[in-house]
Symmetry: C2
Subunit: 333 residues, 2 copies
DNA sequence: TTGTATGCGTTATCAC
DNA sequence: GTGATAACGCATACAA
């Protein structure tokens, strides 16, 4: 920087101004400065800038498990917005280890990151007290059971209900549900939506038609096999995510049932594989990238002191009808 | 820090020493310092430390496209090693935009990151000149056609040949190949391995059995459909990745062909979905996480001045035999 | 073993 | 509109 200043015949303060707030520098001076910068091949040192401004221009995206393709789409939205706002994204998967989560929260205290986009559905114990000792954060997708944190999410209850209502509209009445782990709020919401839709349709709920899984294809396979072994088997299955829906379809095929002719299956998430599956999966699409982008933009606003640190944004979902669902067959009912 | 110094009755230099090189501080003093740190709840400011040491303790992982689940496993390896070495990982997908790649290379010049783990198979033009103006980097998986860069990869030629030899061993002779985009060195290597194995087996190569795709399930589906429409269709297909293999299986099923009875299919990568697919996919497993970890460790050594900036590590692959391959049927040959 | 003093490269404040 | 200067918080060379 000093070299540039000497070459341009100005002080280092002017170099800084020319770069940070060009309007505060006379055009002619600015041109001279820029020419000198080009000539020398100068790049401002972010380390020094960061120290001076006490900010890192880096945020952390914390996800429950990176292998879940669903988070990838969220990441894309976060990264895209971050780039536009001049932030970098530290990606981190917690793999359901609370210590790991706490470790990443600590990065903000160490001034290695400015804030967190949280998609884990949990808070480390240390931060559970008041929101006062929490770092700047925005919750996305997997929301928390407290309403004092800025949150971007979908209405899981309504989305699940919509999927089930679609099945009801196709004539199905024996509709099973493969739920996710019920400690998780998302799983509970989707189960609640399933129940609400059946109730609204005047269909008596049969608790034996609700099976729990862990969001893996294997769990979906086992759950599907169990459901299809029943004396009166369901004619449709609503799974709490796509992977379990895929597993259920695999189980159906092994049981000799044609999907969708003899069994309709609906998933949730619309991951990339959903359209490639055989048959292509009917599923609830979430605006993942949009959720990620909004969360990141909110966080950037928060860090700039331009936004409120609580509230909620609820985005719309969309039922994508593909080839895994069909009107009920008389013979199968 | 000043508060801690006052409370412990020492200078700030001693605080720093107690943290950075504890052996240079008398045990008793160290204990007093640590107690004061605990009492005050002091955390060193990484911003200041970074500036002083001219390092960020952050590395960039550049991947071609984040949606490819294959990179996720690499990321896990990189992140795990990075954590152990005290680094954070900036994850970035380039989405085949050279400007984006250059932009991330620039982050090192701006001192926002110390080095790069490169999994894109390309270098930005600016760095194409000599390795002198390249940031510290280690190439992983998608290697470059120059041997002066530290590289961690598998032997794609041998791995592909092994897969084809397995099919030959099952009695197949009409073996097709769905290749990836041939500008990419990985695609070319796998094609070369396919050819080499056929030649070694004394099977005449039939160029009409080689079809190109773009690594997507859809491309695999189209390629599979095209191959199975031939007068003399293949009895086995070796696809350059799992997703194309999955698409080919879908095409086979639609053509009324049973996999593996009437058509054997082998993939490459062993992504998570491979074992969940119906039928579970026979495929070449890469040690992704290990590749990522080795690349990261090498980079860390490089940054510490403890390793050579060129060379090559070639890791072993493993053929995972599942349900998509079977001995050839006489009737189908 | 510990303290003192300096500098890392910026940017913000205050003069001019 | 521009320059001089201090300060951000830490780590290190040197002195004691």
């Amino acid at each position: 920087m000093k070299d540039v200043a000497r070459l341009a015949g100005v002080s280092t303060a002017t170099i800084s101004r020319a770069l940070v707030s060009p309007d505060k520098v006379r055009a002619e001076t600015r041109a001279r400065v820029m020419a000198a910068i080009d000539r020398i091949g100068y790049t401002p040192n972010a380390l020094a800038r960061n120290l001076r401004q006490m900010r890192t221009s880096t945020v952390i995206l914390l996800v429950r498990e990176i292998v879940n393709p669903f988070y990838l789409e969220i990441f894309r939205g976060v990264e895209s917005a971050a780039r536009q706002r001049g932030y970098n994204v530290l990606m981190s998967n917690v793999e359901r280890s609370p210590e790991r989560e706490l470790e990443y929260f600590d990065l903000v205290r160490q001034r290695r990151a400015d804030g967190i986009v949280l998609a884990t559905g949990t808070l480390p114990d240390a931060g559970a007290g008041g929101s006062s000792d929490l770092p700047p954060l925005v919750v996305v997708s997997e929301y928390l059971p407290r309403d004092d944190l800025p949150t971007v999410r979908i209405d899981n209850v309504a989305a699940a209900a919509g999927a089930v209502e679609y099945l009801v509209g196709l004539g199905h009445a024996r509709i099973a549900h493969i739920a996710g782990p019920l400690p998780e709020v998302l799983s509970r919401d989707r189960l609640a939506g399933y129940r609400a839709a059946l109730e609204r349709a005047g269909i008596e709920t049969d608790e034996s038609l609700v099976v729990r899984g862990d969001y893996s294809t294997h769990a979906g396979y086992r759950a599907g096999a169990a459901l299809l072994n029943r004396r009166r088997r369901p004619t449709a299955i609503f799974a709490a995510n796509d992977e379990m829906a895929m597993g259920a379809i695999k189980a159906a095929r092994e049981a000799g049932l044609a999907v969708p002719r003899e069994l309709s299956v609906v998933g949730f998430d619309d991951i990339k594989m959903a359209s490639a599956w055989d048959p292509a999966l009917t599923t609830v699409a979430q605006p993942c990238a949009d959720m990620g982008a909004r969360a990141m933009n909110w966080l950037a606003d928060l860090l700039a002191g331009e936004a409120s640190a609580n509230g909620e944004v609820v985005l719309d979902t969309r039922l994508v009808v593909r080839d895994s669902t069909a009107p009920i067959q008389r013979s199968a009912s």
